[in-house]
Symmetry: C2
């Protein structure tokens, strides 16, 4: 059960809300729970559970694939207002793959119970359609990531990541380790370190124990569009 603020947020985010009858609306509210996660927490782990539908209130989540030998490939990130249906591949029958989801930042999440949502989805075409539509938006995100990983040369990819990151946070300081950056862009730590060293020697960035600082945004951006 959630409070009135959360209920309002829920009804605004789930665009199928007006198509639910009062019984369905009550069922949904009664089976939604508020949860908090700290940066780095694992929220969903592949096929081991069915986390339910996640609605991000604050913070941010990272969705990734995990190989048998532990390599991670970041697929996309979710921001406040985003709805995550892929944590519930048990809800959408034709999703046959599993993803992992971590909290990227300290996050507040509303979670809808997966069985209740699955039942609503089976009886109300608007709910089903909302889920598929959300999944297809993520499909576009994944295709973008795949293009980056498979087609873009590594210097462009890293420059692109740094530019995106400072645009997202509004700060030139990127407080991430080389290992973390490698995970985000689907590469190895050694490769990231080598290229960052090159970027530093060219004066694009400065490296410190705490992370990376972008110094020459204009030339870094030129690298992305070269």
């Amino acid at each position: 059960m959630i409070d009135r603020n959360d209920e309002q947020f829920l009804t605004e985010t789930l665009t199928f809300w007006p198509h639910l009858n009062p019984v369905e609306q009550l069922q949904l509210v009664e089976n939604t729970f508020a949860a908090r996660f700290s940066r780095g927490d694992v929220i969903h782990r592949g096929d081991e559970d069915c986390a339910g539908i996640l609605i991000i209130k604050s913070g941010g989540l990272r969705t990734y694939m995990l190989s048998e030998d532990g390599r991670e490939i970041t697929l996309y990130r979710l921001s406040p207002g985003d709805v995550c249906v892929l944590s519930s591949s048990c809800v959408l029958s034709n999703i046959t793959f599993d993803v992992h989801i971590d909290a990227d930042l300290d996050s507040e999440i509303l979670m809808i119970h997966s069985e209740v949502y699955a039942a609503l989805s089976a009886q109300n075409i608007y709910v089903e359609n909302f889920s598929y539509k959300e999944a297809v938006s993520r499909f576009s995100d994944v295709m973008w990531a795949m293009q980056q990983i498979l087609f873009m040369s590594f210097d462009k990819r890293l420059a692109n990541f740094l530019i995106d990151e400072i645009a997202r946070t509004g700060s030139n300081d990127i407080p991430m380790t080389h290992d973390q950056i490698a995970k985000y862009i689907g590469s190895a730590r050694e490769v990231v370190s080598r290229m960052l060293k090159y970027f530093a020697s060219e004066g694009y960035v400065a490296l410190s124990r705490g992370g990376v600082k972008v110094i020459d945004k204009i030339r870094l951006r030129a690298l992305v569009h070269k």
Copy 2:
């Protein structure tokens, strides 16, 4: 306009058919066209057009991504009875990527006019939901391909491709060039040639001008599951 056989095939394949009113049904039939393509024909080329919805009657299509420098990555194949909605990213507003589609075999296709389909999709939730559902099935296919490309060692991937191919065609002869195989599994011709030579030296396959013949299916399969 299509003949009665095609009309029956259309109504059986489009599972939303019973949810259309008679006017909508007529509109759909009147704006569907039968087309033939020869093996190798380009059917859809990225963002250059909006091919409409494709329904495969016979033959098969291959969907792929194309990099700026001409590299291809095969995403999935479509077989008789499959419906392709990604050729119409103009129909689904939240699909923001483009794919390329070639005829993999000589193929007969029914094509639904994209604007008519888009209008139906906007006015009938069952049509919209069908499109998203089909797109999500392809999402699963793409995730599978991505896992193969990013995570599987190359010998496994090639063995896997050969095993799938003989299962699909029912013949141990695979009449494809090394270059064609490379395109299917998202690799380079040189890499495929080198590994096939190794497979031949191990007695898994025999190589000829016309293609590859699988000789030791059991050991090839063992390679996939090693």
